[in-house]
């Protein structure tokens, strides 16, 4: 697999634009899936994944062949998706202070043990419900949780995708998991 990818990358770098289609074929589903899980919207997911491949093409010279191509393309796609969220609505952090309060942070704002109304569970399909809950996570936890539990990447790979130390990635996964425990557990 890696040898095949390396060969295609060299072809494209050598000026064979058409060979890039093979790379897109290999990674399009994974890229689209991650983009969709982060954004929760079909159109935006398609937009972001296409943009990700376009950027990969124009920046192919900066791709380090000793690393996995999947990690590189995930990184481009997740960054674009997170950018998209940030532009859409103001970002906030679980650690940020709630406006007008002294010691209250957003952690305390999660309705701890309140179960979701039954009719809501019935109404929403399970998948939609879980997706909605993912969307409630702050972007930086969202990416970590998706890469870990939905894409099943190793901590090391996630660290590379997010350009963060493994310890930081772990913390984000724990925080994200904790938030989802309250809503999905």
């Amino acid at each position: 697999m890696d040898i095949v990818v390396k060969k295609i990358v060299r072809e494209v770098k050598g000026g064979n634009q058409e060979a890039f289609a093979e790379l897109v074929e290999l990674y399009k589903d994974r890229v689209y899936h991650v983009a969709y899980r982060i954004l929760g919207n079909v159109h935006e997911a398609q937009d972001v994944s296409q943009e990700a491949f376009l950027r990969a093409y124009t920046n192919l010279d900066s791709y380090d062949e000793n690393r996995k191509f999947s990690t590189w393309i995930y990184r481009i796609a997740t960054n674009l998706a997170i950018d998209r969220i940030r532009k859409k609505k103001p970002d906030f952090n679980l650690e940020d202070r709630v406006g007008g309060t002294e010691n209250l942070d957003y952690h305390s704002q999660f309705a701890d043990e309140t179960p979701l109304p039954e009719e809501q569970i019935v109404k929403l399909e399970m998948q939609e419900w879980v997706q909605d809950e993912i969307m409630q996570l702050p972007p930086k936890y969202r990416t970590a949780v998706i890469l870990k539990y939905i894409e099943d990447l190793s901590l090391k790979e996630i660290a590379e995708v997010m350009n963060l130390p493994v310890a930081t990635v772990k913390t984000r996964i724990h925080r994200g998991r904790e938030a989802l425990r309250k809503r999905l557990g």
């Binding site: 000026g15 064979n16 058409e18 890039f20 399009k28 890229v31 398609q46 376009l54 425990r181 557990g185």
Partner: protein, 214 residues
């Protein structure tokens, strides 16, 4: 929650599946006794299971085409380079043709004296630019004459080719092959190409046979 923060950290490690078997057994014993920690672990596991159960989505149809259309157009030079890389035979053929043209121009630009290719007995009269195959002579294979005329009185087992000259045939002549008179360089070019192709095919077909007959 009655249990300490350290207990929570231990549980995180447990859920990350980064515990040794002994540590895990120890924690599991604690979970048996502590309903709060147990429900915490259960909730986390359920949340994770729900995440893992999410359906895999595929990129929409036509995705690759759309990406390819969005790519910046390649500069012409690069396209040309790619094209060359993908069609090495064309370059080989072009190189052959170039070499051929060079050799052609050297021949065309050469002196106007008569030159002959062929094996057998024949006379060359340079003052009249004339090649004569005497009555009892035999030329084995083709006879090619440049810049001169040919008078065949004897026998030619192959073709007779005259470039920039005339063919004068006596009644006694026996020519097994064809007679070709070529006056213009383009025609000659055509003849050379035909000849080259014939050679190429007979080489690949008969191996060394062709070599022996010359």
């Amino acid at each position: 929650m009655a249990c300490s923060r350290e207990q929570r950290t231990l549980i995180d490690t447990y859920l990350d599946e980064e515990m040794t078997t002994r540590e895990a057994e120890q924690l599991e014993r604690h979970l048996q006794e502590c309903p709060e920690c147990r429900s915490y672990v259960d909730e986390c596991s359920t949340a994770v299971a729900r995440l893992r159960s999410m359906a895999r989505l595929e990129a929409p149809a036509g995705f690759t085409d759309q990406v390819m259309k969005s790519l910046p157009k390649q500069p012409k030079r690069r396209q040309w380079k790619t094209w060359i890389r993908r069609h090495p035979m064309v370059i080989t053929a072009a190189t052959f043709f170039l070499v051929f043209l060079i050799s052609l121009s050297s021949v065309m630009g050469g002196e106007e004296t008569v030159s002959v290719e062929g094996s057998g007995q024949y006379l060359i009269d340079e003052s009249q630019n004339m090649v004569v195959v005497p009555e009892d002579a035999v030329v084995e294979g083709d006879l090619v004459v440049r810049n001169g005329s040919v008078e065949v009185n004897g026998e030619v087992t192959g073709d007779v080719v005259i470039i920039n000259g005339q063919h004068l045939q006596a009644s006694t002549a026996r020519i097994s092959g064809e007679i070709e008179e070529i006056d213009e360089s383009m025609e000659w070019l055509w003849y050379e190409i035909k000849d080259f192709m014939k050679d190429a095919f007979s080489f690949s077909g008969n191996g060394t046979e062709n070599e022996d007959s010359r």
